[in-house]
């Protein structure tokens, strides 16, 4: 009864193109092959390298324990792809189903997966950003260059922005015994992602490890010497920090510029898609042949009020890529939703930090186990009477349990007792998130649905 359906043809001899040859792109490609896709597969990536892993860049690589060129992602299987590396995609023609490349080539597809991720937000002043010694950290080249500089023993490092990446960099500097100053606009490190209560714990970690942490200040300008080498930074409180390495760690920007004018629902917040990873066009109509996955995607999540979530999480990139790949090769009822519970880890100052759910959506926090003073605890986030997220500092073995509480929309505060409950766990605290309309260094989870903060969005339809 099953004739030669379009789907079978696609699987046998179709053309699939993946733009963004990194974590999400690779895992999607592997999944497609695993599911029996036998057609042609093209992997387009603007970086000259085969897919590599980014989390070590701000950890082992900066410590000199791994080299940036040895972080290639392990392959699950052979994907037998045509690799177009070192060539950015510059445009998309959805009508002709073609991806345009910077070298003038065009690649036709039957199904397209966009996994172009994000890039580091650069220092806004281009001239200052170009000074010798000013870095961002996103790519393998960034990691290698920064490690070389740190190994050379700079007099002082300045990290601008104390999100996860900035904090990990500061931690690596201290482990290398380098003097480091961290300047953070918010009240403490990690406040965008985890709120002020946890930010205070993180601030203690910085200070106890000898970081010169300045909070509530902005860097207003960078200054170079006559040879173009960065020399100092001016802060909004009038102070000056002399540093010969400056790392700009101000969060990320979605790599969607190349889609301008394509008619795809892509913008500075990412590419909007449905829960099955199918991209929306600018009218909010779902496409059937363009899929997205990873950091660049922005998709609604049933558990979080169908708000659109953008996640800069390794695990999300993998899970979403697998779902996208599955759906690209499936029809209708066989498609699966991507309902991954956000999960993130970081390691800094010898502490293993993990979170699940969407802490930044919570307004209250309860320390259910352990204690903040010991920097070993579980914090549970509540939002309108339910559990919405959790964070652990050196207590990750309990995380599965809290993930279940989020999945079951358990009531907040949790009505039961737990082992290692201390007096500070007797009543919830205001989680102390900054006003969402004030930009932060990037919380790694961005809510971008119908939240009130959205009123600042203006709609400018693109025209060809």
């Amino acid at each position: 009864m099953s004739g030669d359906s379009a789907l079978e043809r696609l699987k046998r001899e179709g053309r699939i193109v993946v733009v963004g040859a990194s974590l999400a792109g690779l895992r999607a490609a592997e999944t497609m092959r695993e599911k029996g896709f036998a057609g042609s597969l093209t992997m387009i990536g603007d970086e000259p390298y085969e897919p590599y892993d980014r989390p070590p860049l701000s950890k082992q690589v900066l410590l000199g324990k791994a080299t940036a060129d040895r972080t290639a992602l392990p392959r699950r299987r052979d994907i037998d792809a045509k690799w177009r590396l070192g060539v950015p995609a510059t445009g998309l023609d959805m009508t002709a189903r073609r991806v345009k490349l910077a070298d003038g080539d065009e690649v036709e597809y039957d199904r397209l997966l966009i996994a172009t991720g994000v890039r580091a937000r650069p220092w806004p002043n281009e001239e200052e950003a170009a000074l010798e010694g000013v870095f961002t950290l996103r790519t393998r080249d960034d990691g290698a260059a920064l490690e070389r500089r740190l190994a050379a023993g700079p007099r002082r490092v300045l990290v601008i922005g104390a999100g996860f990446t900035g904090s990990e960099i500061a931690s690596a500097c201290r482990e290398r015994d380098l003097p480091v100053t961290v300047a953070e606009r918010g009240a403490g490190p990690l406040v965008g992602a985890l709120g002020g209560v946890i930010g205070e714990v993180a601030a203690g970690m910085h200070r106890d490890n000898g970081v010169d942490l300045r909070t509530g200040v902005m860097v207003t300008g960078l200054e170079g010497d006559s040879s173009g080498q960065v020399r100092a930074a001016h802060l909004s409180d009038g102070s000056l920090v002399e540093a010969d390495v400056v790392i700009v760690s101000l969060g990320a920007q979605r790599n969607t510029d190349w889609l301008a004018g394509s008619g795809l629902g892509a913008g500075p917040r990412g590419i909007a898609c449905d829960a099955g990873c199918r991209a929306f066009n600018i009218w909010g109509i779902v496409t059937d042949d363009v899929f997205v996955a990873g950091d660049v995607a922005r998709s609604p999540h049933a558990l979080f009020g169908y708000q659109f979530l953008s996640l800069e999480h390794w695990g999300n990139a993998v899970a979403q890529a697998e779902t996208a790949a599955h759906n690209m090769l499936s029809e209708g009822v066989d498609r699966r939703p991507h309902v991954w519970i956000p999960a993130f880890w970081s390691s800094q100052f010898g502490v293993n930090i993990k979170s699940v759910g969407v802490p930044s959506m919570g307004n209250e926090i309860l320390i259910t186990q352990g204690s903040r003073d010991e920097r070993r605890f579980v914090g549970v986030y509540g939002y309108q009477g339910r559990v919405i997220g959790a964070v652990t500092f050196d207590q990750c073995r309990w995380l599965d349990f809290y993930e279940q509480q989020i999945e079951h929309t358990a009531p907040f505060p949790l009505p039961f007792t737990t082992v290692d409950r201390r007096s500070e766990g007797n009543k919830p605290l205001d989680a102390d998130f900054p006003d969402p309309s004030v930009p932060t260094h990037g919380p790694t989870i961005t809510l971008s649905g119908y939240s009130p903060a959205d009123r600042q969005m203006t709609f400018t339809p693109a025209h060809n």
Partner: protein, 415 residues
């Protein structure tokens, strides 16, 4: 149908094959009968309880004491404080952390790996002894191999001088026997023997600890006695209870893992054959063994700190809770064809070493010991066969394994 099923499980007659009873039990994932314990037998439920912060391992949180298992290991009867096995965080975390510093990553990533050569030497020595002094026509694998091996290893790890090893074996023996309630023995005499052994062992260890404080030699005891980490130092009593824990937990389980392993391999000669030529197969074999015949069959010392709703049953606060790991390992909801021993199984996320914060502390060592032991036995014993199937089992339903494993082989190949 489930009438008295717990009694049946504990009854010696089901020791050789408790699995049909577990299967029966799984029909009621959270089973409770009269004033007995709440018994959880299915994989996902056990797993979730092992990660549930409402579950305590501290028997002081039990509403009632006295259970089907009788006296326990007699730890309470002596002045030693409970080991971290029976504590909740934060004490559990602190002691386990301090114990881990000299044992595993991140501070001692090489300890276990560096023992590989030494372990290999002990295995070779034991098999040589069987070959020189034993009778290949009748070997009791437990007495001659799977028992002495882990005890010797623990002695080396802790740093017990080799001239004291034999005394150590005797105490370990007595304490192991105390975990193995034998209905025929005179209980009063047994308790006394156990306490004497504990006392003597405690005094011996205390002396050794004192000595290592003065002259540390880099072994685990020295490190536990003198270690200074962010948590400070262990008290002498803590070093004592921890080293006693390492001693008992460190070999009781491994004996059974190796013995159950050899028994299973002899029942699956095709796998034994593959292992003979491919020692690397020992790694997945051990993993599958931990699923198929786990040395720790059940965890009987847990209790909820709050009422917990599971499988339509409310497990009340303070109730005695048993988690039947060996049953979860054969739950068809989790493992395809669970009663099949299959070292090629792709996804062996078993419960054999527990899970969560109390997951087996010595797992890396146990895995290595078992892998080395089984691959060497496979390589050197020619045409091995079981002389008795099933072999005689030990009384204990918790730490389940053969008391003797009589086997024969044609000859023993040189090392």
């Amino acid at each position: 149908m489930t009438e008295g099923i717990l009694r049946q499980i504990l009854d010696y007659s089901s020791r050789a094959n408790p699995y049909p009873l577990y299967e029966e039990l799984r029909k009621t994932p959270v089973f409770h009968d009269g004033d007995g314990p709440y018994v959880v037998s299915t994989y996902h439920e056990i797993k979730s309880l092992l990660h549930d912060p409402r579950i305590s391992s501290d028997s002081r949180n039990l509403a009632t004491v006295g259970d089907l298992l009788g006296e326990g290991d007699g730890e309470e009867a002596t002045a030693l404080p409970p080991s971290f096995l029976k504590l909740d965080p934060p004490d559990h975390d602190r002691l386990r952390r301090m114990t881990n510093r000299p044992f595993g990553p991140p501070h001692s990533p090489h300890r276990v790996h560096d023992m590989r050569g030494e372990l290999g030497g002990i295995v070779t020595g034991l098999i040589d002894t069987i070959s020189e002094q034993g009778d290949p026509g009748r070997i009791d694998l437990v007495e001659e191999f799977s028992y002495p091996f882990p005890v010797t290893v623990i002695c080396r790890l802790l740093g017990v001088p080799s001239e004291d090893e034999s005394r150590f074996h005797v105490w370990a023996d007595t304490l192991a026997a105390s975990l193995d309630p034998d209905p025929d023995a005179d209980p009063a005499e047994r308790v006394k023997k156990t306490q004497d052994a504990r006392m003597e062992l405690g005094m011996y260890l205390a002396g050794l600890i004192e000595e290592r404080r003065k002259n540390p030699t880099g072994d685990m005891l020295s490190e536990l006695a003198t270690g200074q980490g962010p948590d400070g130092a262990m008290s002498t009593m803590e070093v004592l209870s921890t080293s006693a824990l390492l001693l008992i937990a460190g070999h009781e389980t491994t004996v059974n893992l190796i013995t159950n392993g050899m028994l299973t391999l002899l029942r699956h000669p095709e796998v034994l054959d593959r292992l003979r030529t491919d020692p690397a197969l020992s790694v997945p074999i051990v993993e599958e063994l931990l699923r198929y015949e786990p040395p720790v069959q059940l965890v009987p010392q847990r209790t909820p700190l709050a009422d917990i709703e599971m499988g339509g049953v409310t497990i009340p606060k303070g109730a005695s809770l048993w988690l039947i790991l060996a049953s979860g390992n054969r739950d068809p909801q989790r493992f395809k064809d669970p009663d099949r021993f299959d070292p090629d199984r792709p996804d062996v996320q078993h419960l054999g070493l527990g899970s969560g914060i109390h997951s087996c502390f010595g797992a890396p060592l146990a895995r290595l010991e078992a892998a080395l032991a089984l691959s060497e036995l496979a390589r050197r014993l020619e045409n091995p066969r079981l002389l008795e199937d099933p072999p005689p089992y030990r009384q204990n339903a918790v730490l389940r394994g053969p008391r003797h494993l009589p086997i024969a082989c044609d000859s023993i190949l040189p090392a």
